[in-house]
C-alpha cells in the first residue's frame, strides 16, 4: 500500500476552471506538460479539458485571474474573544462558486493594501440568501485588521479559490458510507463544508471534536444537523496523539466499517492522525485541510511552495493531491 504514494499527483477538476493561468505563460504549469516546459503531451493529470487547447483558444494567453469583490458584512459575531464570524453578502455567482468543500477566499479591509490579503476557508454558504460565512481567528496584523469592521461595512474579497483540502477526491467520491471527521480549534470552521457534503451523499459522519484552545464549540448547530455522533476529546499533546484519542480511534474503526477519515487541524495533527489511521487500516481514505501559508493563491508569489525530501516543488495553493504527498518527507532543519 505504500505504493499508493506514487499516485498522489491526481489533481482535480475544480482547479481547471482557472486554467490556464499565468503559470502557463512562463512554462510553469503544474498540470500540462506542453505548458510546463516540455514539447509533448505527458498527460497523467488529465481532468477532462486540454489546458493547452484552452490556452491556444485564448490566443496563447492566461485566463483572467481572480477578481476582488466588495462584500457587505451582514452579521458579525465574536466567539470567546478571539474568533470573529462574518456573514457576508455576495453575488449569486460568487456564492455558487464557493459551495464545494475546500473553497476559500482572500479577505482584507478595503482601506488596506494587497499585503493584507489573508486566506480564509469558507465555513458555510447560503445560496438562498446569497451569503457566505467565514470564521477568523485573530492571530496577527492581517486578521486583527479585520476586527475593526462593523456590521454594515464592506470587506474586500478575492475569490473563488478551491484548493483548501488535500485529498479532495476522497471526499467527493464517497457515498453511502461511514466517515470520521476530526477537528480542532479553528479547524471547526473549514470542517463544515465537507461535513455537509458527506452528509448530503448519504454518509454517516462521526465527528471527533477538540475545542482547544477554546472552551466551547462555535459549530454546535451544524453538528446537531449533520453529525450522527459527536465525541469530545483532547486530541494532541506536545505533538503526539493522546492515548485517549488513539483508543477512541481504534474502537471506532474496529467496530465500524469506516471508509474515510478527514482532519481539520494543524499539520502536526493532520500528519499524526494520517499515520495512526494508516496503522489501523490501510484501506481507509484520508483527507485534511491544506494549511499552506498563502499570499496570492495563484501560484505566483511562491509563498506556498514546499520541497520535501524528494526535492520536488509543490505549489500548494494549486496542487490538488493526497495529504501524504505533502505531509510525508518534510524537511526539518
Amino acid at each position: 500500500m505504500a505504493l499508493r504514494v506514487k499516485f498522489l499527483r491526481n489533481h482535480r477538476s475544480l482547479v481547471y476552471r482557472a486554467c490556464p493561468c499565468h503559470l502557463a505563460e512562463t512554462g510553469d504549469c503544474i498540470l500540462c506538460s506542453q505548458l510546463g516546459g516540455k514539447n509533448f503531451c505527458d498527460c497523467s493529470n488529465w481532468n477532462g479539458v486540454c489546458i493547452y487547447q484552452e490556452y491556444a483558444s485564448n490566443n496563447y494567453k492566461a485566463k483572467e485571474s481572480r477578481k476582488y469583490y466588495y462584500c457587505k458584512v451582514v452579521e458579525k459575531n465574536k466567539f470567546e474573544d478571539n474568533i470573529i464570524i462574518f456573514t457576508l453578502e455576495a453575488s449569486d455567482k460568487l456564492v455558487s462558486e464557493l459551495v464545494q468543500a475546500g473553497s476559500y477566499v482572500f479577505v482584507r479591509r478595503p482601506d488596506t493594501d494587497t499585503r493584507f490579503d489573508t486566506p480564509i476557508s469558507i465555513m458555510d454558504t447560503d445560496t438562498r440568501n446569497n451569503t457566505i460565512t467565514i470564521a477568523i481567528e485573530l492571530k496577527g496584523t492581517k486578521t486583527k485588521a479585520l476586527d475593526v469592521l462593523k456590521q454594515g461595512e464592506e470587506l474586500l474579497v478575492k475569490a473563488p479559490f478551491w484548493n483548501g483540502i488535500l485529498g479532495l477526491k476522497n471526499i467527493n467520491t464517497i457515498k453511502n458510507s461511514k466517515c470520521i471527521i476530526v477537528a480542532r480549534g479553528i479547524g471547526q470552521a473549514p470542517m463544515i463544508p465537507p461535513l455537509k457534503h458527506l452528509h448530503a451523499n448519504n454518509n454517516e459522519v462521526t465527528v471527533v471534536l477538540d475545542n482547544s484552545p477554546y472552551k466551547n464549540s462555535f459549530v454546535n448547530e451544524y453538528l446537531e444537523k449533520y453529525a450522527s455522533k459527536v465525541i469530545m476529546v483532547n486530541t494532541i499533546v506536545r505533538g503526539r496523539i493522546t492515548d485517549e484519542f488513539n483508543n477512541i480511534l481504534k474502537n471506532l474503526i474496529s467496530n465500524n466499517d469506516f471508509s474515510l477519515v478527514h482532519c481539520d487541524a494543524a499539520d502536526v495533527l493532520n500528519y499524526e492522525l494520517m499515520k495512526a489511521v494508516e496503522e489501523i487500516d490501510k484501506n481507509i481514505k484520508y483527507s485534511c485541510c491544506n494549511n499552506a501559508k498563502m499570499c496570492c493563491g495563484e501560484g505566483i508569489c511562491g509563498c506556498c511552495t514546499r520541497k520535501n525530501n524528494d526535492r520536488k516543488l509543490r505549489r500548494l495553493c494549486k496542487m490538488q493531491t493526497e495529504p501524504k504527498y505533502v505531509l510525508e518527507g518534510r524537511r526539518i532543519f
Binding site: 505504493l3 499508493r4 506514487k6 499516485f7 491526481n10 500540462c32 506538460s33 506542453q34 514539447n39 509533448f40 503531451c41 505527458d42 498527460c43 497523467s44 488529465w46 477532462g48 486540454c50 493547452y52 487547447q53 491556444a56 477526491k169
Partner: protein, 425 residues
C-alpha cells in the same frame, strides 16, 4: 503468470492473443469503449507486401486476426493507384468480431480504463495505476498505446484536435507508459526537424455521396475522382503518415475505398473544396468529424526497443505497433503485437527471446525499422509492407511473394511453423 496489455488497438489485441496462446493470464486495458483504436477507421489489408506478411503470420501460427479481417472483408483482391490485391475489411463489423474472439479465448478486457502511471522497482515495472487511482500488478507488461494524439500534440504539431476515433476529449489522453517508467520516447519527423506526421485518411458517410459513387463503391470497392486543377496540392503529401499513399495520383485525384464507410485517401480536405467534386456535393465527414480541418498527429512517442520487442532499459516491458517504431498499418501492428505477446512469456520463463529471421518479411521489417529509427533520415521515413521505401526493399530482397506454398515452405524450413501457437507454460 500474468501479462498486462496496455492499449487495445490491433497490436494490443494481437499481443493479448499470442500471450494467451503461450499460456499466460492476460488482462487488457483499453481507454475507449471499443477495441482496435484506429483500426475502427482503417480497413486496408493484404495490399502489396502485406499479402506476404499476412501469409507469413498465418504460417507462424499467429493468423487469428488475419483470418478475422479476411472473414469480414467487403472487397477482395482490388487494385487502386500504386496498390495491388488489397482486401478491405468492413470497419462496421470488425470490432465486435475481434472482441468476441478475444473473450472466447478468456482474455480479460477492461474497457474505458485508462492507464496513467507505473510503479517501478529497479528496472522492473511492478504495477500500473489506472486513472481512477487503482493499482494493479503483473509479471510482464506490454505497451501498445500507439503514438497518436493526445490533443496537445495534435495542436502543437497539427491543426488541433479534429475529433478522431480515439476521442481523447471523451475518454482521456494516451499516456506514454515507457516514458512514465523513465525511458525517453523517440520521435518521427515528417520533414527535417518537423516532428510527427498527420494521419493519412478520412471517412465520409456513404449515404452523403451521390448514387453513382455509392454504386461504384459497392461494386468495385474503389472510386477515383478528379480534383479540380486549382485545388491540387502536392505539398500536402509531405505531411502524411502513410508514405505508401503519398503519390502524385493521390493529390490529383480523390481516391475513395469502400470499407463500410467511404475511405477518403487524404489526411484532410476542406469540406467546401471537397463538395466541389462531382458526386461529393453533399459529402459529410464521419472520421475525423473535423476532417475538413485536420487529422490526428502520430509518431511522437516511440519507445526504444530490441528486435524481440523488449523496451530498452526495462526488464519486463514489451512494446508493439506504432509504439515500437515508425510503422504504418494494421498488418504491421498485428505482427509486432504477436511477437511482443509471445516474448513476454519467454521473458518471464527466462527463455531466450524469439527474434524473427530477416529472411521473412515480418522479421526483416522489425529489424529494419529499428535500425532506421536511430538515423536522422530514417526518422523521416515510415515502414510498411504496403509501399514506400520498405516495399521496394522487399522486392529487391526477394521477400515479396504471393505464393502461399512458398511462404509455408520457407517458415517450415526455418523450423518456425506455428511457433506462436506453442504453449510455453
Amino acid at each position: 503468470m500474468k501479462v498486462i496489455v496496455i492499449g487495445g488497438g490491433w497490436s494490443g489485441c494481437s499481443a493479448a492473443i499470442t500471450a494467451k496462446k503461450a499460456g499466460a493470464t492476460v488482462v487488457l486495458y483499453e481507454k475507449t469503449d471499443m477495441l482496435l483504436g484506429l483500426g475502427n477507421v482503417g480497413g486496408i489489408m493484404r495490399n502489396n507486401g502485406r499479402y506476404t506478411a499476412s501469409e507469413e503470420m498465418i504460417a507462424l501460427g499467429a493468423g487469428d486476426l488475419i483470418h478475422l479481417t479476411d472473414e469480414n472483408s467487403r472487397h477482395k483482391n482490388i487494385d487502386f493507384p500504386g496498390h495491388k490485391h488489397a482486401w478491405l475489411y468492413d470497419v462496421n463489423k470488425i470490432e465486435p468480431a475481434v472482441e468476441k474472439y478475444l473473450k472466447a479465448m478468456d482474455i480479460e478486457i477492461n474497457m474505458i480504463t485508462r492507464v496513467v502511471d507505473v510503479e517501478k522497482e529497479d528496472n522492473r515495472i511492478k504495477g500500473i495505476y489506472l486513472s481512477d487511482g487503482k493499482y494493479v500488478e503483473a509479471d510482464v507488461f506490454i505497451e501498445t498505446t500507439g503514438s497518436t494524439g493526445p490533443m496537445g500534440n495534435c495542436l502543437k504539431y497539427g491543426n488541433g484536435c479534429s475529433m478522431c476515433i480515439l476521442r481523447c476529449p471523451a475518454f482521456g489522453p494516451r499516456v506514454s507508459i515507457s516514458y512514465r517508467a523513465g525511458i525517453e520516447d523517440l520521435k518521427g519527423e515528417r520533414q527535417e526537424d518537423v516532428y510527427g506526421a498527420i494521419s493519412g485518411s478520412c471517412k465520409l458517410a456513404k449515404d452523403s455521396l451521390s448514387d453513382d459513387v455509392v454504386k461504384q463503391l459497392d461494386a468495385t470497392g474503389v472510386v477515383v475522382l478528379k480534383v479540380p486543377e486549382e485545388d491540387v496540392n502536392l505539398e500536402k503529401l509531405k505531411l502524411k503518415v502513410c508514405q505508401q499513399y503519398a503519390l502524385k495520383e493521390f493529390a490529383e485525384n480523390i481516391i475513395l475505398l469502400d470499407t463500410g464507410h467511404a475511405k477518403l485517401m487524404t489526411s484532410y480536405y476542406p469540406l467546401e473544396k471537397l463538395r466541389k467534386i462531382k458526386g461529393l456535393e453533399y459529402a459529410k465527414y464521419i472520421d475525423p468529424y473535423a476532417g475538413g480541418k485536420g487529422n490526428s498527429i502520430r509518431y511522437l512517442s516511440v519507445a526504444p526497443r530490441t528486435d524481440s520487442m523488449k523496451v530498452v532499459g526495462l526488464d519486463n516491458l514489451f512494446c508493439a505497433g506504432e509504439k515500437a517504431g515508425l510503422f504504418v498499418g494494421h498488418t504491421e501492428a498485428i505482427i509486432t503485437g504477436a511477437l511482443a505477446g509471445h516474448n513476454a512469456i519467454r521473458n518471464y520463463l527466462g527463455m531466450p527471446l524469439l527474434m524473427l529471421p530477416r529472411s521473412l518479411a515480418v522479421g526483416d521489417i522489425i529489424a529494419y525499422a529499428n535500425e532506421k529509427i536511430h538515423s536522422k533520415e530514417g526518422r523521416t521515413n515510415r515502414y510498411t509492407f504496403a509501399g514506400a521505401e520498405y516495399f521496394n526493399r522487399m522486392q529487391e530482397l526477394g521477400l515479396y511473394t504471393l505464393d502461399i506454398d512458398k511462404i509455408k515452405g520457407k517458415v517450415e524450413k526455418l523450423n518456425l511453423t506455428d511457433i506462436f501457437s506453442e504453449k510455453l507454460i
